[in-house]
C-alpha cells in the first residue's frame, strides 16, 4: 500500500491527467470486448465464457492477415468478420443446443471451447508468442496534452471505439433489427409468434457479439503479445466489467469499463500489489448493493 504516492498523484495535475487518460484507454479497450459479452447475455441470457477466446481468435486472424497483406485495416476487418462468422457457427451448432438446459450446461460447452480453441491456436500458430508490430502510420511520437502523454495509436483506438459504441447504440435503438433484438430480450415467445425466426435473431446477436470481440482483438493486436491462452485475462476483466455495469446493459458496460480502467490506473499507484483484488472488491461491493449491476434492470 502506498497512500502517500496516491495523495501525491491526486494533487498533481499532470499525474491526474495522465492516469485518467490511461484509465480511459484501458476502459475503452475493455468495453469493446465487454459490449459483446453483455449484448449476448441481454438477449440470450447466456454468459458467453468463450468470449475471451473470440478475442484471441481476432488477434490471431489480424496477425495472419497483417502478415499476408501488410494492411492493418484489412487485418482488423478480417478479424471482425472472421470471428463474427465463427461466433455464428458456434451459436448455431453448439450453444443453441443447450439454451433449454441449465446454466451449468452452457458453462460446460463454453469451457470445452476455451480448451479446444487454446489448443487449436497452439497447433495452428505454434506455442511461441507472436507480436504483430505497430502499423507504420502510428509509429510517431506521443502527444503531450495538458501535461499528460497520449500516444497517437491510443487516440485512434479511442476514436474507433467511440464510433463503434455509437454505431451499436444506433443499431439497437434505431433499426428494425434493434427493435427485434430488444423485443427478443424481453419476450422471445412473442417475437416468434409474430413470425420472426428467433433462431436467426439469436444467431445474429451472437455473431454481432463475436464480431465486437474479434474487432477488439484485431484492434489491440499491435500492442498485445499473442499467445494461446491470451483470452483468459481479458475474459475475467470484461466479465467484471459487465457484472459491475449490469449484465445486459451496454451503457452499463461502458460505465463499468471506465470504472475498472480508473481503478487500475489509480490502484496501480496506491495499491500496486492488490490491483486485481481491488477490482474483485469493487465487483463484490456493487453486487451487494445492487445485484443487477449499476445500470442493469432488476430481474
Amino acid at each position: 500500500m502506498d497512500l502517500a504516492a496516491l495523495t501525491e498523484c491526486l494533487t498533481t495535475a499532470s499525474c491526474i491527467i495522465t492516469q485518467t487518460t490511461s484509465g480511459l484507454i484501458i476502459g475503452l479497450l475493455l468495453f469493446l470486448v465487454a459490449a459483446g459479452l453483455t449484448l449476448i447475455f441481454g438477449v440470450l441470457k447466456v454468459v458467453n465464457f468463450t468470449h475471451g477466446s473470440f478475442y484471441m481468435l481476432g488477434a490471431y486472424f489480424a496477425y495472419t492477415v497483417n502478415g499476408l497483406t501488410d494492411s492493418y485495416v484489412l487485418a482488423v476487418l478480417a478479424a471482425a468478420v472472421g470471428v463474427g462468422l465463427f461466433a455464428l457457427a458456434f451459436e448455431r451448432f453448439f450453444i443453441s443446443k443447450v439454451y433449454a438446459s441449465n446454466v451449468l450446461m452452457q458453462l460446460l460447452v463454453c469451457y470445452a471451447f476455451i480448451l479446444i480453441l487454446d489448443d487449436a491456436v497452439k497447433i495452428i500458430w505454434g506455442p511461441e508468442f507472436k507480436s504483430m508490430g505497430m502499423p507504420a502510420a502510428f509509429q510517431s511520437p506521443p502527444l503531450f496534452i495538458a501535461g499528460g502523454i497520449v500516444p497517437v495509436f491510443y487516440l485512434f483506438l479511442i476514436g474507433v471505439t467511440l464510433a463503434i459504441s455509437l454505431g451499436l447504440w444506433l443499431t439497437i435503438t434505431r433499426t428494425r433489427f434493434g427493435t427485434i433484438v430488444r423485443a427478443a430480450a424481453v419476450n422471445p415467445s412473442m417475437v416468434s409468434a409474430l413470425g420472426i425466426n428467433t433462431g436467426l435473431v439469436y444467431g445474429a446477436v451472437f455473431a454481432l457479439g463475436g464480431l465486437l470481440a474479434g474487432l477488439a482483438g484485431g484492434l489491440a493486436a499491435p500492442v498485445r503479445s499473442l499467445t494461446s491462452g491470451m483470452g483468459f485475462s481479458i475474459l475475467i476483466e470484461s466479465f467484471i466489467v459487465t457484472v459491475i455495469g449490469g449484465m445486459g446493459s451496454i451503457a452499463g458496460a461502458l460505465l463499468g469499463a471506465i470504472l475498472i480502467g480508473l481503478v487500475r490506473a489509480f490502484g496501480s499507484i496506491g495499491f500496486p500489489l492488490f490491483v486485481e483484488g481491488l477490482m474483485f472488491m469493487l465487483m463484490a461491493v456493487i453486487l451487494i448493493l445492487k445485484p443487477s449491476g449499476l445500470l442493469g434492470k432488476e430481474g
Binding site: L104, M105, A112, F280, L287
Partner: protein, 330 residues
C-alpha cells in the same frame, strides 16, 4: 410410487463395505499410482459432493466453491507449519475457521439469487485468491507454502508413511461422505430440496429460508475444506491454484459429469474426470483439445451424468418388474 427412504444404518453398512474395499485395494493391486489416484479422488470427492449440496440439493449454483478448498488447504498447512500443532488439532482449527469464513461470506452472498449468487461467490473466491497471491510473508504468494507440511505422528498414525496417508485420506472421505449423506437424508436435507424446488412455498410453510441456506453453505464449505486438506497432505503444500476459479470450474464439471441427481454422482464424476485428465495428459500434449471434445460430447450428446444413466436404468428395471408383476396379477 415412493421408494423406501434409505435409513442411516443402511448407509452405514454401504459406507463400511466401500471403506473396506477401498482399503483392501492396494493389497489386491499393489500400485503406487493407484494409491496416489485414490488419495486425489478422495480430496475431489469431498469437494465435489460438498458442492453438490449447494448445486444439486439446494439449487444454489456457486462459482466460488474452490475458495473453501483452497482455504482449507492453506489453513491446515499454515497451522501445521506455523503453529506446530498436531494433525487433529490442525483439522479442528481448519474446520472452525472455514465455518467462520463460510458464515461470513455466506451471509453476504445468500441474499443474491441465481446467476448473481454465482457471480458474487466467484468475486469472493477471486478476492481470496488475490489475497493469497499478495500476502507473501504469510502464504508465500504464487510459490505457495514451501518447505513441505510436517506430518507428525498422532495416535499411532504416521502420515509420512504412504500406507497411513492412504488409509487416512480414504477414511476421511468415507466419513465425510457419510456425514453429508446424513445431512441430505435428514429432515433438514428435505427442507433444502423444498427450498430448491419452491423457495416461496418453503417460506410460507414457516421455513427460515435464509438460515437454512446459510447452514447448507457452511456445511458445504467445511467439507470442501476437508477436501483441500487431503490435497495439501498429498502434495505436502498449498498453492494459490487451489483457490483459483479453475478449481471451482473443475468441481462443477465433476458434479455435472457424475450427475446431480444421485448422492454418489459427484464422487463418480471425480473419478471419471481424474481418470480422463490422467489418461489424456499421458497420451498427448493437446489434452485441451481432447478434454474439450469429451466435454462437448457429454454436454451435447449425453446431457446427463454417469450415475444418472445408472439411476435411470435401475428405475426402468424396477418399473419393468413392477409392471410385470401387475401384469401377472391381471
Amino acid at each position: 410410487m415412493t421408494a423406501a427412504r434409505p435409513t442411516f444404518s443402511r448407509d452405514l453398512l454401504i459406507a463400511g463395505c466401500a471403506l473396506a474395499v477401498v482399503l483392501l485395494l492396494p493389497m489386491l493391486w499393489p500400485s503406487k499410482a493407484l494409491t496416489d489416484f485414490v488419495i486425489r479422488v478422495s480430496a475431489f470427492s469431498l469437494f465435489a459432493t460438498s458442492l453438490n449440496l449447494l448445486v444439486g440439493y439446494t439449487g444454489m449454483v456457486s462459482f466460488g466453491h474452490g475458495m473453501f478448498f483452497g482455504f482449507g488447504a492453506y489453513c491446515f498447512g499454515l497451522s501445521m507449519q506455523r503453529l506446530g500443532v498436531s494433525i487433529p488439532v490442525a483439522i479442528v482449527i481448519t474446520v472452525l475457521s472455514t465455518a467462520a469464513l463460510a458464515a461470513a461470506v455466506g451471509a453476504i452472498c445468500i441474499r443474491l439469487k441465481d446467476i448473481y449468487f454465482a457471480f458474487i461467490t466467484l468475486a469472493f473466491q477471486m478476492l481470496l485468491y488475490s489475497l493469497i497471491i499478495a500476502w507473501v510473508p504469510l502464504t508465500g504468494g504464487d510459490q505457495g507454502l514451501m518447505g513441505g507440511i510436517p506430518r507428525p505422528e498422532f495416535l499411532g498414525v504416521d502420515l509420512g508413511l504412504e500406507s497411513h496417508r492412504y488409509a487416512f485420506s480414504v477414511v476421511l472421505m468415507v466419513v465425510g461422505l457419510l456425514a453429508m449423506r446424513h445431512v441430505v437424508e435428514s429432515p433438514f436435507g428435505y427442507t433444502l430440496r423444498m427450498i430448491r424446488d419452491n423457495p416461496d412455498r418453503a417460506s410460507f410453510l414457516g421455513i427460515h429460508v435464509f438460515r437454512a441456506k446459510l447452514t447448507a453453505f457452511i456445511i458445504a464449505g467445511v467439507f470442501a475444506a476437508l477436501g483441500g486438506m487431503v490435497m495439501a497432505l498429498f502434495v505436502s503444500g498449498a498453492y494459490p491454484e487451489f483457490a483459483n476459479w479453475t478449481m471451482s470450474g473443475e468441481g462443477i464439471f465433476m458434479v455435472m459429469l457424475g450427475g446431480v441427481s444421485t448422492f454418489v454422482g459427484p464422487t463418480a464424476g471425480a473419478v471419471v474426470l481424474s481418470l480422463l485428465n490422467d489418461v489424456i495428459t499421458r497420451r498427448t500434449e493437446h489434452h485441451g483439445l481432447f478434454l474439450g471434445v469429451v466435454i462437448l460430447v457429454f454436454a451435447l450428446g449425453l446431457r446427463k451424468g454417469v450415475t444418472d444413466f445408472i439411476a435411470d436404468w435401475l428405475r426402468a428395471q424396477r418399473e419393468a418388474r413392477s409392471s410385470a408383476l401387475t401384469g401377472d396379477r391381471t
